[in-house]
């Protein structure tokens, strides 16, 4: 079980969190005319990277905040966590 540092609550066990996918995906702006390809990239196309990866988790059974977690998808090592409003550098 992973040990995730919630930027709001501190170190917590994985079972307090739920996974939310790739954190680098940006939703297209509302009312913007975009191509099918752009939309499909947003809704469906994911890279499933091996290695370092920024992803979203929600501290569901805690502060309920969505957070950004930099994790190695192969080793599960966690390098960094950010609040929702902090930018990935």
């Amino acid at each position: 079980m992973l040990h995730i540092k919630c930027p709001h609550c501190g170190m917590r066990s994985q079972n307090e969190f739920s996974y939310g996918g790739d954190a680098t995906i940006k939703r297209p702006e509302l009312n913007k005319d975009i191509s099918d390809q752009e939309w499909n990239n947003f809704v469906y196309n994911r890279k499933s990277l091996r290695g370092k990866h920024w992803e979203l988790w929600q501290h569901l059974s805690g502060c309920r905040q969505w957070i950004k977690v930099e994790r190695d998808t192969a080793t599960h090592e966690i390098f960094n966590t950010l609040k929702a409003n902090e930018d990935i550098s």
Binding site: M1, H3, G20, V43
Partner: protein
């Protein structure tokens, strides 16, 4: 019965407490402190089971966790449990155990014909058997294997024992209480670290209990006892015996199973049988020791052939002789320790040493004691079927390839020592990149991935002095890093015998003309010949060889077999062992009971039970409940001997004629506040929300980004910046997360707060033509007339002194209202509604009637909004705004979603107006079409229409829009039904929706 193999005055057992037990129906005696294995051996019982594949007789091979054979079915405390190792099960008064894998009995085993017929002989047994003619398989092999195979029987009864889970944090978790475990626990504890020391066995001390060593002028055993006693007194130390750390998971999370009561005849009141510990440790020290490895020779699975260290442990700990004519077969000094122990207790052993001329203290000692030692000698084959009776032995050439003349010598046991294999399972599980150590012919931990360090024999360090030294130092350094303390303890003086190098010899060649089975894996019956076949058939990767031959795949995970298997593969492939590599070790290290894994999460504790504030009233009024997620909802209220069908029909009918009341507390409720609340709703729902006036409710549908309907419900504008959203019971939690996602990550600029208020409000739906009259009586001071509270209107009212929210919304399609009060007043509200409603013939109705009402009105719900449908499919396209953008809108332009013949919800009526249509049935054009019959749609929900008194269903049907009036067939292969039906509008009752607006 006399325990004829028990020594007097030797061992750590309690001879004042004699225990009786039964094995295979026969009564025996042992002592407190025995294991089932030691007690059986004390009684001379060596035959304990049959092997898995060939059903060869099986005895004892080890004395602990590494035991591959002695697996029994245990009966304790009115329960039965399979897969119990006799070497681990402690004896208690009245213990009952039986052999497994023997049919009809351990002494006469029908399965043993496998051994002679060799039907199931080769490697790839599982794969090849499936290739046989089908008829042969079903009729002969499968029933035969089913009856003859298996490792015990799982109980089908509810387990009345209690199992617990515990979460713990510590600075250092130390797995194993041998010399390295004790030394490191002591050093770390003295340096102020929070330490958990776990020992798998009942006794602490590991090999210190059986070795002739001296630490600080004490015997190893005395030193161990002293350290443990001191550790137990320290507040920063938790010391646990009968506790096995079996799994090493991510982020230094380890799991340990504590056998709290398994060693007792009954479990004490309020005690668990077992406890599972989830331990998050800053540092982990693995002091799991090593396991002796066998030398491979002919018939090396015969009962009486066992590890030399096991024979020593039975003697030293339990005072039990595993034989009276022991033959010790060794390639290193360890075998001599066992031989000397025999000799000192009046038994004359013979040592066969594969080495030519070893020079060491212990070899000298054995010579001085007059033990018969044969150098450059090997056991060629064990003789005897159910027990070793003699051994064929021979001299072996210096190159270890040629055997001399075969001699037969009498013996009743063969104690084997092929040197030591470090227990690297935990390190490997943690992700450690293990490396091969040539000096000991085994893998040892290499580069750590997590915070773990392996010490002592588990790290390939076999001298006590070095083990203690490195353990003291490592534990001090690690604890210093954590606690910043620097308390060093003085290093004790250590006296031990120096040993010389072992012989790399591991497998005795077959003598000419003989074809003895030489086993590598004793639990799965994998012999040298099986590996040879696998390699001949082209298997190369050790992972493939493992799966094809099942080497190391039994419940013992190859603890005694892995390395010899690797040696063989590397020899045939002409590679070095590290190039072959070992297979991956996975948790659990040792089998863990399902009960321990499940813990307390059984029965009603498996999930929380949510009840509405009116639950007690429902119970008192004969409600029959149904699970709605974790909620319990009344399905119907039973009157007399009504069944579900009759009761729900009565309840639904009463709603259509008079008035009914339904507990809708379980609906998800989300309070939404902030100046941008309207804007959020406008982006989340498919329809327009910016112009909703205060005091009005609106029905809304929300989509996922892929265009699929996520949920529906009504949201009411309570005041300028305050909305009350309802969701379906099932999606309540997901919708909240969904809103939080968009507010926190996508549109943080929106000034809105959302919070779940599901549990803060109790809700009652009042539905039926008389509902307004009832409502007026409930709220005499409010104007609830058609004009005062129009359809989709909202007002606050006073319910006999209780503040209430009144919504004019309808799920049943009737004139209906929903009243919400604070949860604490829920029961009061309900009772008032029932009381005042008597004049209007009110009846409560459950979810079954609720479904009937919504189905015949064509209101879509969870069974249509099933994660596969878009608004159009549910005839909700009218609610999809063309003007504004919203979540998921862009996906609705997809080709499949705009296809002319896109699926759509329709109504389905059986032509005979009698036959009920099973939910989940398929709709087809031709009931006689050849398979696979093209499926046009499926039945999503069925009811008995109370309006028309015939069955009615909803279906999602391809090209539904053009199918109204068509005749199709409903097919349910599961229920074996074919029903001719007509497709009608989904709005079966009141299609214009006049009633809700009345």
């Amino acid at each position: 019965m006399i325990q004829s193999f028990r020594l007097e005055n030797v061992g750590l057992i309690n001879r004042n407490k004699k225990l009786s037990f039964k094995f295979n129906g026969k009564t025996y005696y042992g002592y407190e402190g025995d294991t089932l294995a030691s007690a059986l051996l004390a009684n001379g019982v060596h035959l304990i089971g049959r092997s898995f594949k060939y059903h060869r007789p099986r005895g004892f091979f080890g004395a602990g966790v590494d035991e591959p054979y002695a697996i029994v079915q245990l009966y304790r405390n009115g329960e039965t449990e399979p897969n119990i190792k006799a070497t681990e099960q402690e004896l208690f008064e009245g213990l009952v155990a039986t052999s497994v894998n023997c049919w009809p009995s351990v002494k006469f085993d029908v399965g043993a014909i496998n051994n002679f017929l060799k039907i199931f002989l080769p490697a790839g047994f599982y794969y090849k058997t499936f290739m046989w003619p089908k008829s042969f398989w079903y009729k002969i092999y499968e029933p035969f294997i089913r009856k003859a195979a298996g490792l015990g029987v799982a109980s089908i009864k509810h387990d009345k024992e209690r199992y617990e889970h515990k979460y713990e944090y510590c600075d250092l978790l130390i797995a194993g209480s041998g010399p390295s475990g004790l030394a490191s626990a002591y050093a770390a504890a003295k340096n102020g670290a929070r330490v958990i020391l776990a020992e798998d066995k009942s006794r602490f001390g590991g090999t210190l209990l059986t070795s002739d060593v001296n630490i600080g002028n004490k015997s190893g055993k005395e030193w161990a006892e002293g350290v443990i006693a001191e550790l137990k007194e320290m507040p920063n130390v938790t010391v646990k015996n009968r506790s096995q750390v079996f799994g090493y998971y991510d982020h230094n999370m380890l799991v340990m199973s504590e056998r709290v009561s398994d060693h007792l005849a009954t479990t004490k009141k309020f005690h668990p049988k077992q406890r599972l510990w989830y331990i998050r440790a800053k540092e982990v020290l693995i002091s799991a020791g090593s396991i002796e490895r066998p030398i491979v020779f002919g018939n090396n699975d015969t009962p009486g052939v066992m590890l030399s260290s096991a024979a020593k442990e039975y003697l030293r700990i339990y005072g039990v002789l595993v034989g009276k004519k022991p033959l010790i077969f060794t390639n290193n000094d360890s075998g001599y320790e066992t031989a000397i122990d025999f000799k000192k207790n009046g038994i004359d052993p013979i040592i066969l040493d594969t080495r030519k001329d070893p020079q060491s203290e212990i070899v000298e000692e054995a010579k001085e004691l007059g033990i018969n030692i044969k150098f450059s000698y090997v056991v060629v084959a064990a003789k005897g079927y159910k027990k070793v009776k003699s051994a064929d032995i021979a001299k072996i050439s210096d190159n270890k390839e040629d055997l001399g003349v075969i001699e037969n010598i009498n013996c009743d046991c063969i104690c084997v020592s092929g040197f030591w294999t470090p227990t690297i399972h935990l390190a490997s599980q943690s992700g450690n990149k293990t490396k091969f150590n040539e000096n000991i012919d085994a893998f040892v931990p290499g580069i750590s991935k997590q915070n773990e360090t392996t010490l002592g024999a588990a790290n390939g360090v076999y001298t006590l002095n070095e083990t203690l030294k490195s353990s003291f130092e490592t534990a001090h350094a690690l604890s210093k890093k954590i606690t910043n303390n620097d308390n060093k303890i003085s290093f004790p003086n250590v006296v031990e015998k120096k040993s010389t190098t072992h012989d790399k010899f591991w497998c005795v060649p077959l003598p000419k003309g003989k074809n003895y089975k030489r086993f590598l894996d004793f639990q799965n019956d994998v012999a040298v010949s099986d590996i040879e076949i696998a390699l001949k058939e082209g298997y190369r990767s050790i992972e493939h060889v493992k799966r094809y031959t099942t080497l190391g795949m039994a419940t013992d995970q190859g603890k005694t077999s892995n390395l010899n298997g690797l040696q063989l593969v590397s020899k045939i492939e002409n590679k070095v062992v590290p190039a072959v590599g070992h297979t991956t070790f996975r948790p659990p290290y040792n089998p863990v009971s399902i009960g321990a894994i499940v813990g307390r999460e059984v029965g009603k504790h498996s999930k929380p039970t949510r009840k509405s504030p009116m639950h007690n009233w429902h119970e008192k009024n004969n409600a029959v409940f149904v699970d709605a997620g974790v909620w319990l909802r009344p399905r119907y209220y039973k009157k007399g001997d009504e069944n579900l069908f009759e009761a729900s029909k009565r309840e639904a009918k009463n709603v259509r004629t008079n008035v009914g009341v339904c507990d809708v507390t379980t609906l998800g409720k989300i309070d939404i506040k902030g100046p941008d609340a309207g804007e959020l709703l406008n982006r989340v729902y498919t329809n327009a929300w910016l112009k909703l006036p205060v005091g009005k409710a609106r029905y809304g549908v929300m989509l996922r980004e892929d265009g699929i309907v996520m949920d529906d419900g009504t949201t009411t504008r309570i005041s300028e910046n305050h909305y009350h959203m309802t969701t379906t019971t099932a999606q309540a939690a997901n919708v909240l997360s969904h809103l939080e996602y968009y507010l926190q990550l996508v549109w943080p600029e929106l000034n809105v707060n959302v919070v779940s208020t599901t549990e803060q409000w109790a809700g009652a739906a009042i539905a039926g033509p008389k509902s307004r009259d009832l409502l007026q009586k409930l709220f005499p001071n409010s104007d609830v007339s058609k004009e005062g509270l129009p359809f989709m209107g909202y007002m606050e009212g006073d319910l006999f002194g209780v503040k209430a929210r009144i919504f004019r919304i309808s799920f049943s399609g009737e004139l209906a209202y929903e009243v919400n009060v604070e949860s604490d007043n829920g029961n009061f509200m309900w009772e008032k509604i029932i009381e005042v409603g008597q004049a209007f013939k009110i009846q409560p109705y459950g979810t079954e009637a609720l479904s009937t009402l919504r189905i015949e009105m064509g209101h879509v719900a969870g069974s249509e909004l099933d994660g596969r449908t878009i608004p159009y499919d549910n005839s909700l396209e009218g609610l999809v705004s063309k003007k504004k953008d919203f979540i998921g809108k862009r996906s609705l332009t997809k080709e499949a979603f705009t296809a002319e013949d896109r699926q759509k919800v329709v109504g389905v009526v059986p032509l005979d107006k009698k036959t009920s249509i099973p939910e989940g049935s398929h709709l087809v054009k031709d009931s006689n079409a050849p398979l696979p019959n093209p499926k046009l749609g499926y039945i999503s929900a069925s009811c008995w229409s109370v309006e028309y008194d015939n069955p009615f269903s909803l279906a999602i049907l391809k090209d539904g829009k053009n199918m109204i009036g068509k005749k199709l067939f409903v097919m349910s292969p599961l229920k074996n039904k074919v029903i001719p039906v007509e497709i009608v509008s989904s709005h079966y009752v009141d299609p214009k929706g006049e009633r809700v607006r009345s």
